[in-house]
Amino acid sequence: MEELSHNMFDWDFANKVQKMAGNSINLCFQCKKCTSGCPIVFQMDYSPAQIIYAARLGMKDLVLNSNTIWLCASCETCTTRCPQDVDIAKVMDAGRILARKEKLRAGVREIAIFNKTFLQNIRIFGRLYEAGLTVFLKLRTGEIKKDLDLGITMLKKGKLKLFPSFTRVFEINRMFSRIKKLEHKRI
């Protein structure tokens, strides 16, 4: 672990996370219930409780470069069990949003690509076109062979639609653009 120094504490970052998390993260008293209930913690570089503590101290680099914020499956176990009503899952969302805003290389690249590809897909089609999502995901991550057999089996079973449908595409596109403008000013 690198040595602590005063310039590691970015209070502007701490305030941003505080605001995005809704309820105050300063209420955390490190009971670590979030960590003991987290199903993914065995793969994380920092535990959820460590991320909360680091965010309170404004340790931006640690939080935004962690794999924790990306691996979180949004199962909400932590948020449900927190005795202090800290919305830990929302802090993970805040981390992902801020990392994207800062154009940082995501702690888990495939997951950032997945989210981006998913949203582009619904922006184009209105409803998720799963076959398209899988193809674009493969092209972007370079994992062409991954799940190929599974995809073929799914097609055979009629579980994947070959062709997309288009629903409310102009309206959705307008919603995406408006949100982008609003959030550009805000975050």
């Binding site: 691996l71 499956a73 176990t77 409803r127 079973k157 639609k161 309206e171 609003l182």
Partner: protein, 287 residues
């Protein structure tokens, strides 16, 4: 009874068994489902992990369309859509300024009045007698564990559904249908959700734990109410077997498929032949 129905993207593709079996069961029980027109994706986890406004705007657009038709409630069977709808409703109830902003984004005046319901709710509230009376097939020898996953009940202050750490609604519905429901330890454990497509090795560990416990308590099948839980447990089961050197072949069935069997519907009417883990052997014990 008539309910407007938001299927969501999965029920039209990977989870079409849920759509088919829910409609078949509803039909048998005299519940009419009417799919809402021109619905769009709820945004799922990708939206809330990327933009808090988008995560609210997408469900709100759907809710606004329902409200426009003067309909007071909507049935949302996918656990992830159900959670996103409930989240949007909760945030908008709390914050009138946000509601104004969302109205601008979706170009609609919407008051956030629509009630969001899950099939487990309507089938467990006031339907027990009807279900008991409609049972046609004795499933007392069919042992099932109920898997609720994460999003139906968490976080409880938003979801306001069942009891969050130990839900019972699915257990009760299937018990009313005469199914032998078993208790187990993994009712609300996470299956890894969308990590399935990106970090598959993580979800394999999570689902292996689930299979091991289901087997230990003697379950013939796992009943689910979430398309993502279903696809992870069904489509990744063989991969998990390979990695952990097991030989599980536990059928994963939507709770509506199990209920449908008890109501005397035929397996093909419930689309029980399209899962990756075959249900034939198990069904041959029943038929």
């Amino acid at each position: 009874m008539k309910y407007p129905y938001y299927p969501g993207c999965s029920l039209h593709s990977t989870a079409r068994e849920y759509d088919i079996s829910l409609k078949a069961v509803s039909d048998t029980l005299g519940i009419e489902l009417k799919e809402i027109k021109k619905w769009i994706c709820c945004g799922a986890s990708a939206a809330h992990q990327t933009s808090s406004l988008l995560a609210i705007a997408l469900p709100a657009k759907n809710l606004a369309e329902v409200e426009k038709e003067n309909i007071e409630e909507v049935l949302v069977p996918c656990a992830a859509c159900f959670a996103r709808f409930k989240n949007a409703k909760y945030q908008l109830d709390k914050d009138p300024e946000l509601l104004k902003e969302i109205n601008d984004i979706i170009s609609q005046t919407f008051e956030n009045k629509v009630k969001i319901l899950h099939p487990l709710e309507i089938l467990s509230n006031g339907m027990s007698t009807k279900i008991k009376q409609s049972v046609k097939k004795d499933l007392s020898g069919f042992k099932v564990v109920c898997y609720y996953g994460c999003l139906l009940t968490r976080p409880p202050k938003i979801m306001q559904f069942d009891t969050c750490e130990y839900p019972v609604s699915m257990d009760e519905i299937l018990k009313n249908a005469g199914v032998h429901v078993l208790d187990w330890s993994f009712k609300t454990s996470c299956c890894g959700a969308a990590l399935s497509l990106t970090k598959t090795e993580i979800i394999l560990k999570l689902i292996d734990d689930i299979f091991e416990n289901a087997k230990a308590v003697g379950a013939d099948a796992i009943a689910v109410a979430c398309p993502l839980c279903h696809s992870n447990l069904d489509m990744r089961q063989q991969e998990a077997n390979k990695l952990f050197n097991r030989n599980h072949t536990i059928p994963i069935m939507y709770f509506t498929q199990v209920l449908g069997l008890a109501l005397g519907l035929k397996p093909y009417e419930l689309s029980l032949n399209t899962h990756l883990i075959e249900t034939d052997e198990l069904l041959s014990k029943i038929y």
